[in-house]
């Protein structure tokens, strides 16, 4: 049994509809991911602020997400990142469903796997409705490994080139994936050995012995390995080099796109381990050590275990399947922050890719189908478990909302950012401007109807005004000490204290929420 492309397209459209409804439900219940709001704010800067367009367009990272959101901006700045992730997830579904034609496993069972995973797996749902880069990571991760598996099948350079392009996209979606450079090493060497003419039919160990000890073969092995490496990494590394050069030329800092809170949500969005230790909620961070993390990730994805049971292939294929685990080991060397869902969800993606391309029926079709369906159902529960124990507040919020269906149709929730945006919009004007720093207040600006009456860092005068707000600003929006982002902005209570002492500033509080205060400074 196989599905026609038209059927798969209809299925994908229905999935889009399902995700749109889910996103609407989550949104009206107050779930707005800060990363999505970050893109929304940058879209506003891009389209509504006339100067420095190039800086906004050229340095906002991750590039794939931002440029993608730009394409979806006609749907509204707030919805654009979510629309993008929904389309990416539907596209992932479409690609996987089309590729099912390649599988040796029972197609019906695989379709059930796909449907259940995409509709009910919390990580997949989160990726679609959060507007985060998770969907893009999943999509490019799938396309990357699909290209590898297709390369193994056809030995055509085209697939290597495509892998290289997808790897570039993946890195420009999440910079940590640049460490794939190292995690690819084992299977690239094994592919090279496979490709050189060693004595076929001999034991694998003997073939490796020959490849490494015969001078001519060793030279060939080295040449082929380097060639494979270069063809895989030239584009990503060239692109990163180019991006660094552009950042150096335009922002004066080659790593601006990684280190500036104005360019990259990760700077403010990730939860540092210190923060978690100060305010422990959830239990996942405890597994963030070598081996334990990989084991935890595998346990959260029983479908991955099923894929290993059904796996049939050579050693290099197995190493390819295990690449994410090697990647975890590498990035775990220097752990600074809590690893959120994107690192766990790729194991599920890898599982499905493996099933499609390397899965074989074990014992009989019925048992294999039960294995697949059982693994999928367990994966859904494991995904829920992950969210219930997550140390990331936004992931926990997602879980809590998803877990309380009774609240879904309650009156719409107004978030703190919405309230502040509404208030600022009511007081800001060109004559009475509000000084606000989008390093931490991007969520508020994202909800503003426009940028009129705001003094923001993208304006050249911002640096001067921040030194003495009374020069031009009428109001300042200040992050309170309990605001998680107060360290990322100069407009925090500490600096307001300094202004009081040094400038004789006498701000009067006009509006206050849990994390923000708006002062009048005139």
């Amino acid at each position: 049994m196989s599905l026609s492309n038209a059927q798969i397209r209809i299925g994908s459209l229905l999935l889009v509809l399902y995700y749109v409804i889910a996103a609407w439900l989550f949104h009206r219940n107050g779930f707005e991911h800060s990363e999505a709001l970050f893109y929304t704010e940058k879209l506003k800067l891009l389209f509504e602020y006339p100067d420095n367009t190039l800086i906004t367009l050229g340095t906002t990272f991750p590039t794939t997400m931002f440029i993608g959101a730009v394409l979806f901006s006609p749907f509204g700045f707030l919805f654009a990142p979510i629309a993008l992730t929904i389309v990416m997830m539907a596209s992932l579904f479409y690609n996987m469903a089309v590729d099912l034609n390649n599988t040796s496993l029972p197609v019906k069972s695989m379709l059930i796997v796909l449907a259940v995973m995409f509709m009910f797996h919390p990580m997949f749902l989160y990726a679609a409705v959060s507007g985060r880069n998770v969907a893009a990571i999943m999509l490019f991760f799938y396309l990357l490994f699909r290209s590898f598996f297709q390369y193994y099948k056809s030995q055509t350079t085209y697939y290597l080139s495509m892998a290289s392009i997808y790897l570039t996209c993946l890195i420009f979606t999440e910079i940590n994936f640049i460490w794939m450079l190292l995690s690819f090493f084992p299977f690239v060497v094994l592919i090279s050995i496979e490709g050189i003419k060693v004595t076929k039919g001999e034991q694998v160990v003997f073939q490796y012995y020959q490849a490494l000890n015969n001078r001519s073969l060793r030279r060939k092995l080295a040449n082929r390995t380097i060639a494979l490496y270069l063809i895989l990494f030239l584009l990503p590394l060239g692109a990163v080099y180019l991006y660094r050069t552009l950042n150096a030329a335009h922002a004066g800092d080659a790593t601006y796109f990684l280190t500036s809170q104005y360019a990259n949500w990760r700077v403010t969005g990730t939860i540092s381990l210190n923060t978690i230790l100060d305010n422990i909620q959830g239990n996942n961070v405890g597994k963030q050590t070598q081996i334990v993390f990989q084991t935890f990730a595998i346990l959260l994805s029983p479908i991955f275990i099923v894929s290993l049971i059904l796996f049939k292939g050579k050693l290099y294929k197995l190493f390819t399947v295990l690449t994410p685990l090697i990647l975890f080991s590498i990035i775990m060397v220097d752990v600074k922050y809590y690893f959120t869902v994107e690192y766990f969800v790729i194991i599920n993606v890898m599982a499905i890719t493996t099933l499609i391309y390397l899965g074989r029926v074990r014992i009989n079709t019925v048992l294999t189908s039960w294995l697949l369906i059982g693994g999928t159902v367990l994966s859904v529960f494991a995904g829920a478990y992950y969210f219930s124990e997550s140390n990331d507040p936004e992931e926990r919020q997602f879980y809590n909302l998803a877990n309380t269906p009774s609240s879904w149709l309650q009156p719409k929730v107004t978030t703190e950012a919405m309230l502040l945006a509404e208030y600022i919009a009511s007081i800001a004007s060109d004559k009475r401007p509000v000084l606000i720093d989008d390093a931490s207040a991007y969520g508020i600006i994202a909800h503003m109807p426009g940028l009129d009456g705001l003094i923001i860092p993208i304006q050249k005068s911002f640096v001067t005004i921040i030194e003495n707000p009374t020069l031009m600003a009428h109001y300042i929006c200040v992050a309170k000490k309990n605001n998680r982002l107060h360290n990322f902005t100069v407009l925090n209570v500490y600096n307001v204290g300094l202004m009081r002492a040094n400038l004789g500033l006498t701000p009067s509080r006009v509006y206050e929420t849990e994390n923000w205060i708006i002062y009048s400074v005139q």
Partner: protein
């Protein structure tokens, strides 16, 4: 049994009846004299034959030094003179006509000529090569003029005789005048506009190349003809195959050429090989004369006529071709041994509108120096990835210089090659497409000698780039008409691959130097030309363009497993600068010497023939 020298040679044990029977068959099929078949199909060495004639009382006369009475020659057709290797010298005034013949013992020829001239014939022996030289010189005028002007007469729009048409000159000068006027009016803004526009063009051209190469890489392992299909071919069903070998002063390569031809897996009698040499090329002629072993090609002497180009020589050779299919090789080429059979198989498989098949070209001396390595990378990506990519997109394919295989009748219908175009092959590829025929790609490789000397390389490349400019100018004389003929897709494909190639090479050093001057010297006056966004675009184009070109070159190593060359792809930016030098030379020549054929010296490689043969075998494996 025919009464001829070969028969007499059998009598003294210098020849065999079996060979003569084979020769009879060939002579009959080609309508040649026996001696021509024997000397040109690898049955007899010239030295042996001359010695036999000498012993038999027919010492060779130097026909080129004789006074010829052209009234008798004018009564003969060149085709007949060439096929039967004779030349009327003069009458002695007493009823005997002296005729120089390659085979003075050929009684059939004697009786034919006696009837023709109604006089007694006295044969004197002359070298077949000298007779060939003389007959083409004396009777080749009509044919050589046809070779030069036939296309111009039949299809003047496709002829490159006029380099720039009046409307083209008008457009070019208007553009230059407009640019200068606007630069005077607003230097900074117009400079920025031109800079960004041309860098955009540059990047777009490279992106397009990458796209095509990626498309082509999908067909990397696709075998249009398999080994099993080749094995199944019945030799008796194979048609006569013509191979044209245009050479000029390639005396050192003649021996190599014979070995390369011998290694072709095709019935000997069905290979109609023509060595086309110029009238003033005594070096090559003497090299053929001095061979110690039987030659397997026929020598055709191309009479002097300007322009002295390879396409003119090939057009001339066309008049003497006997094959159903035709291909061109250079003297140093080492084709895959089964290439001709593959072509025949593929032509049989493909629809009738496929009239040309292009084989891949590569190099046997790839590891000789940096230049040969870069050349190999370039050719590998071009022939292994770009051409299949172009074919899959159904856009005009600029044919490579050699190893293009034609259906002879269609080639003649197309008017042959344009003798005024120095990349006649690329031009012909477009003309094929214009006539709604198709070009295919065959999975077979010909190894050539990569240019290993920079000045020689620049000479060769300047000719190619000049030819691309000529081809663009010829076919863009009427763009609307061109769109009508080849469609929008073909139009863009043609302009990107043929038109933009010289433009990118011409632009590259300009854009690079503007940018480097800005970066290194940071002059105040230059800074104004690079506002932030222009700098952004320039940096992007500079890094992205070069990286993608390096990447394209890297792709090239995979199909042929030249992994050791991959790091050399990094040198591509320098290689491009060499292209730019050639491009400016080509531009200069386009204006001052548009038809001048920059001769590429071959035989410079230090690689031995056996090493080249090993490379060829490795390639085929």
């Amino acid at each position: 049994m025919p009464v001829c020298a070969l028969n007499n040679m059998i009598g003294v044990g210098l020849f065999t009846t079996g060979k003569l029977q084979e020769i009879e068959q060939i002579a009959h099929e080609y309508d040649y004299a026996y001696i021509k078949a024997a000397l040109n199909f690898g049955f007899l060495t010239r030295k042996e034959y001359v010695a036999f004639l000498d012993r038999s009382g027919f010492p060779l006369i130097d026909i080129r030094a004789e006074v010829i009475d052209e009234t008798y020659v004018e009564q003969c057709d060149l085709q007949q003179l060439n096929a039967y290797l004779f030349l009327p010298v003069r009458s002695d005034g007493r009823g005997t006509l002296t005729v120089a013949a390659a085979d003075p013992m050929d009684e059939k020829l004697r009786s034919t000529l006696e009837i023709k001239f109604n006089t007694k014939i006295r044969f004197v022996a002359a070298s077949d090569l000298d007779i060939t030289w003389m007959v083409h010189k004396l009777r080749g005028e009509f044919y050589v003029k046809e070779s030069v002007f036939s296309l111009m007469r039949k299809d003047p729009e496709s002829s490159g005789l006029i380099t720039f048409t009046d409307p083209q000159l008008f457009v070019i000068f208007t553009f230059i005048a407009l640019a200068l006027a606007m630069l005077t009016f607003s230097f900074v803004n117009i400079f920025i506009f031109l800079n960004v526009f041309f860098s955009g063009v540059f990047l777009f051209a490279i992106l397009f190349k990458l796209y095509i190469a990626l498309k082509g890489s999908r067909y990397e392992l696709h075998e249009t003809v398999t080994k099993d299909e080749i094995k199944a071919v019945d030799n008796s069903t194979l048609p006569v195959y013509t191979i044209l070998l245009p050479v000029y002063k390639e005396d050192k390569l003649i021996r190599k050429l014979i070995w390369n031809l011998r290694s072709l897996d095709y019935p000997k009698g069905k290979l109609d090989v023509k060595l086309l040499i110029e009238e003033d090329d005594d070096k090559t002629l003497n090299a053929v004369r001095d061979l110690d072993f039987p030659a397997n090609f026929e020598t055709i002497v191309v009479p002097f006529h300007m322009p002295k180009t390879k396409p003119k020589a090939c057009n001339y050779g066309l008049f003497f071709c006997k094959g159903k299919y035709l291909t061109i090789y250079d003297a140093e080429d080492v084709p895959d041994s089964d290439q001709l059979k593959k072509v025949v198989c593929l032509f049989r498989k493909l629809p009738r509108d496929y009239v040309v098949l292009q084989g891949a070209l590569n190099y046997f001396n790839k590891n000789e120096n940096l230049l040969t390595r870069m050349f190999t990378l370039e050719y590998s990506y071009w022939f292994d990835y770009m051409l299949p990519g172009l074919q899959s997109l159904d856009v005009p394919i600029p044919l490579g210089g050699t190893s293009n295989h034609f259906k002879l009748d269609k080639l003649i219908e197309l008017g042959g090659w344009d003798p005024f175009n120095v990349t006649e092959d690329a031009d012909l590829g477009v003309r094929v497409f214009e006539k709604r025929y198709k070009v295919g790609v065959v999975n077979s490789t010909t190894l050539e000698e990569a240019n290993n000397e920079p000045f020689n390389w620049v000479r060769q490349r300047s000719r190619w780039i000049k030819g691309y400019m000529q081809t663009t100018l010829v076919h863009m004389r009427n763009p609307v008409n061109l769109v009508g003929k080849i469609g929008w897709r073909g139009f863009f494909g043609f302009n990107f691959f043929v038109g933009f190639t010289p433009i990118t090479f011409l632009l590259y050093p300009l854009l690079l130097s503007f940018f480097l001057v800005y970066l290194i010297f940071d002059l105040e006056s230059v800074r104004v030309l690079f506002p932030d966004w222009v700098l952004y675009v320039s940096i992007f184009n500079f890094v992205a363009g070069n990286t993608l070109m390096i990447y394209l070159n890297m792709l090239a190593v995979f199909k042929r497993r030249y992994y050791e060359l991959i790091l050399f792809a990094m040198c591509n930016p320098l290689y491009w600068l060499l292209h730019s030098i050639a491009a400016y030379k080509g531009l200069w020549q386009l204006i001052y010497k548009p038809f001048y054929w920059e001769k590429t010296n071959h035989g410079l490689t230090k690689m031995s023939h056996s090493a080249a043969a090993t490379a060829a075998n490795a390639n085929q494996a």
